[in-house]
């Protein structure tokens, strides 16, 4: 059984397209924070400011631009295809994840859209994390980001004074 699961995981990894092969190129963004793994469930945390168009949101018709935003992307371990019909117990999900983007004035930034499960494109889309999209604010007003996974909290500072 374990050998089968391992084999399935390896097959899933082998079918992962590289980020450069995604069909829709991501708009350029300014990375405000990249954090080392927070836990076994969160292998990477990235906070990115999109001043032109938010990644993953369709541009406004005729302009190519879209709403600016700040996105927080959480990556989780990917070792099982969703088509197996068996979900990995370690898979990140918007149902068990929450993110707060903290402003220095003691408030939190509001969500621009509902959080999404991030999927890698391909014949069999593979979930690899969650994506939280916040309203745009000047990066120098941000104090940090807090992540909750299954009720456990993690905090990281954002230092973007320039």
């Amino acid at each position: 059984m374990l050998a089968r699961l391992f084999l399935i995981g390896m097959m899933a990894l082998a079918t992962l397209p590289s980020s450069s092969s995604q069909q829709v190129p991501e708009p350029p963004g300014r990375v405000l924070l990249t954090a080392a793994p927070l836990s076994d469930q969160i292998t990477a945390l990235t906070v990115t400011e999109y001043s032109g168009r938010c990644a993953g949101i369709k541009p406004q018709p005729g302009t190519g631009d879209g709403p600016p935003c700040i996105q927080v992307k959480l990556n989780g371990p990917v070792w099982r295809t969703i088509t197996d019909g068996v979900s990995s117990p370690n898979l990140l999900s918007v149902k068990t994840t929450q993110v707060w983007l903290l402003r220095k004035d003691g408030t939190a930034v509001g969500n621009l859209i509902q959080p999404m499960n991030a999927m890698r494109s391909g014949d069999s889309p593979i979930p690899y994390g969650v994506l939280f999209t916040f309203q745009p604010v000047p990066p120098q007003e941000l104090a940090g980001v807090v992540v909750s996974v299954d009720g456990k909290l993690y905090a990281r500072e954002i230092k973007a004074d320039q």
């Binding site: 707060w100 903290l102 004035d105 003691g106 969500n111 104090a143 456990k152 909290l153 990281r156 500072e157």
Partner: protein, 150 residues
Amino acid sequence: MLARTFLIGVMALATLPSPQVPSRQVHSFRPLLNTVPLSDEISVDVIELFEGVGAQPPLLVVQLGRLPTRSGESNPHPQPLSGMAIQVWLLRADGTSVAQRQKRSIVAPEQAGVITETTSVFFDDVPHHDVAGVVVSVDGKLYVREIKAS
């Protein structure tokens, strides 16, 4: 422990200006977080205060405490709470934060050679099961603690 929490509540209310809290009498309180260390130097309490007269809405209070400093000792922590850049967020489970009212710092009079310094931050009251945690920034460094609904 309860006596200490009650004392914190009284001290917190005593620091509020009259227009916002006319009665200044603690009717009851509910501790949500009891003197949890944030660092080697600072601890945090989170309590919900209910006032007696005047039917004021309850308050959520986050109180930061500094390690006691004994008079006459050489102070190993030269920077007081009031000299630190402190910010506090109360996180709601829905991804928002609780609105903050105000922040007050006080230094309690010396008792038995011990000087106690605290900073209280007051928030609007929300159902306590909606509060997921508290985040404290001290000179830019973030500390987070979970608050379990009970």
